[in-house]
């Protein structure tokens, strides 16, 4: 105890106010004000223990340190008189792993939790597992897809860009990964991850822990030559193994794309893989492999949703229009809206380009994404030679685009067949004129050209308070027109054209919903007042 010093932090130097520091001399002690560590003892629960007491005698001149070694007595009747258990009062040092005790240490400490008493506690956990052996299993979101050996692997880069084969594919998790693998022509046939067999060999289990297997079928094979040109092979359901041909190693896997079909009960019923095979020459040291997996529910065609059901901020607004020949609302039950197959081209506005000339814009448009207010524009140069009517038409095309939709989906997952889920776009026209101009223009026939398009999308929060879904309620497209004054010939004018999208939240504040008060339902029996009724 006399040698222990908690405040001695600096080696070979005197710590300030540390009375137990052996590096301090008497001159240093005379400069201290207090002792930061006045007493050093062993475990205070012992009945009698040694204690080292340090104090400063400030009365003496110069002040000096007093060191006393005494026996401290614990007066309590429950103090520890003796122990026969060696580890009772100190922290036990951990066992050093050696080759003999490594397996035992791994079994004891290798999992996520372990207890201080290792022997008797672990037996309970094994007893619980057989109880749910009779439940039916099914895949859930994120559960690794099991195959006969282990899991369906989707090699992906871990930490560095080298491929690791230990990444399992999760159910309903669409993934696309790219990673690098080291290759050489000599090891053409031996590296397993380069051959098609590695990816189609093990069959997928239809449900976890069952014996129903689904074979992975080869859907298509695309062969990529050394200069990058790809050709699709006909009649490609044969597994092609890597082999050496003319000092090249051909048929090595450069990319795999899995397509898994599942039912809504969580079973996998089909699995197909499309391969891209390539070739490497002697100088190649590594190749890049890309892997992809996608899931489709049986009997549906995959439609990319912009939210499920409420719109997700950042996803494009879904919009469409009535095909010609279907008058509204007579055949409402049979008609369906036509949507552009490219989800980003359904509702678009003008995109600003670096040269801000409207007529040279060449139709660049940007999709309207939910929740993102946008403003874009360009400058129009008007010369005297331009006529009103064609100019109006050109500007309308510029602002609205080639196929401006008529309906916008109110939910992110609205189906095209459910017409009532779609909100019609209201068109308004305003004219931007000052009062002075209005007086003059009543006497002249004037030319109104559209200069601004503002799309206002009003949306509300729908559903429960904890998980509100965005629902589009109203879409208004306002075209602002202005008068085009005739210019004297030779002069030209530049007017700005703008288009903007604004999203307004019109959700009403949430109202608490209370359960109805319980009513007391009391009815007297009908012959209660017997003699009188």
């Amino acid at each position: 105890v006399a040698k222990l010093c908690v405040c001695d932090l600096l080696v070979a130097q005197c710590d300030v106010n540390c009375c137990c520091d052996p590096d301090c001399s008497a001159a240093d002690f005379s400069l201290f004000t207090t002792c930061s560590v006045p007493i050093v003892t062993g475990d205070s629960r012992l009945c009698s223990q040694k204690a080292a007491i340090y104090s400063l005698d400030v009365e003496a001149n110069p002040p000096e340190r007093i060191f006393k070694l005494i026996d401290q007595v614990n007066p309590s009747v429950f103090c520890i008189h003796a122990t026969n258990y060696k580890q009772a009062l100190s922290f036990s040092p951990a066992e050093m792993p050696t080759s003999e005790n490594f397996d035992q240490l791994l079994k004891r400490f290798g999992s996520a939790t372990f207890s201080a008493e290792p022997d008797s506690w672990n037996m309970n956990t094994d007893a619980q597992n057989p109880s749910d052996a009779n439940d039916t299993y099914r895949y859930e979101y994120g559960v690794p897809i099991q195959t006969v050996d282990a899991f369906l692997r989707l090699p992906s880069p871990v930490v560095s860009s080298w491929c690791s084969d230990a990444n399992p594919a999760g159910f309903l998790v669409n993934q696309a990964t790219k990673c690098t693998r080291s290759v050489s022509v000599e090891e053409c046939g031996t590296i397993q991850a380069l051959s098609m067999l590695f990816y189609v060999n093990s069959s997928i289990l239809a449900v976890p822990r069952s014996s129903q297997m689904v074979n992975i079928q080869v859907q298509s094979i695309v062969v990529q030559s050394l200069n990058g040109m790809r050709t699709l092979l006909n009649g490609s359901d044969v597994v092609r193994l890597p082999m050496i041909l003319d000092e090249l190693c051909i048929n090595i896997v450069l990319g795999v794309s899995y397509h898994i079909t599942y039912t809504d009960a969580g079973e996998i019923i089909e699995a197909a893989a499309a391969f891209v095979l390539g070739a490497i020459n002697k100088e190649a040291l590594s190749i890049q492999q890309s892997f992809e997996i996608s899931f489709t529910q049986v009997n549906t065609t995959p439609v990319p949703l912009s939210g499920n059901p409420g719109y997700v901020v950042g996803l494009p607004i879904r919009a469409g229009f009535w095909p010609q020949g279907y008058p509204f609302p007579v055949e409402i039950l049979f008609a369906a809206l036509v949507l552009n197959t490219n989800r980003y081209s359904q509702l678009t506005i003008l995109q600003s380009t670096s040269n801000q000339d409207c007529l040279a814009a060449q139709g660049a448009r940007t999709p309207v994404l939910f929740g993102y207010n946008m403003v874009s524009g360009c400058k129009l140069r008007i010369t005297a030679a331009m006529k009103c009517q064609p100019l109006t038409q050109i500007l309308l095309d510029l602002l609205k685009g080639q196929s401006f939709p008529e309906y916008v989906a109110s939910f992110g997952n609205s189906q095209a067949q459910d017409v009532l889920d779609w909100v019609p776009i209201t068109h308004l026209r305003t004219s931007e004129q000052s009062d002075n101009d209005r007086i003059y223009n009543t006497f002249q026939s004037s030319c109104q050209i559209p200069v601004a398009l503002e799309i206002e999308v009003k949306w509300t929060k729908y559903g429960s308070l904890v998980n509100p879904q965005a629902k589009i309620v109203n879409v208004t497209a306002t075209i602002t027109t202005t008068t085009l004054k005739q210019l004297p010939s030779g002069r030209e004018r530049t007017i700005p054209i703008t288009s903007s999208v604004v999203f307004t939240d019109i959700s009403s504040p949430a109202e608490p919903g209370y359960k109805a008060w319980p009513t007391i339902n009391v009815k007297l029996p009908f012959d209660f007042f017997f003699p009188f009724v």
Partner: protein
């Protein structure tokens, strides 16, 4: 004639031992909560405490019966069992996992009582023979 001091001592021993048993059990429970007391060490301590209780009941009954009926056989048997009790008391005094000061006091008093009792029993046996 039966020995009156022996009978008094046996009676007092009975009362004291009940107190001793409850106190030691309570202290073992206290130790198991406050200190690190693994099951390997707790089980022998508890088992020996219960064995000691059984031996003590037997011993006091035989001693009392032998003294009152003035027979040497039960007194002799009681003396033999006393040896076992003394060993157990020494265990709780010295070889227990945690020996607290209270344990020391209780066991010391118990050992003194056993010593006195053994002396009186020897005298009584000598008198009855």
């Amino acid at each position: 004639l039966s020995s009156v001091p022996l009978q008094i001592l046996l009676y007092v021993n009975g009362i004291y031992y009940s107190f001793y048993f409850l106190a030691t059990l309570a202290m073992i429970i206290y130790k198991s909560q406050v200190f690190s007391y693994p099951d390997d060490f707790l089980a022998p301590d508890l088992a020996l405490l219960f064995v000691m209780a059984i031996l003590e009941v037997l011993r006091l009954y035989l001693g009392s019966k032998g003294n009152l009926t003035e027979e040497e056989a039960p007194l002799g048997l009681s003396l033999v069992i006393t040896v076992g009790s003394v060993i157990l008391s020494v265990y709780f005094l010295v070889w227990q996992t945690y020996v607290l000061k209270a344990d020391v006091i209780l066991n010391a008093v118990l050992l003194v009582t056993y010593g006195l009792e053994s002396a009186l029993k020897v005298v009584a046996v000598a008198a009855f023979v």
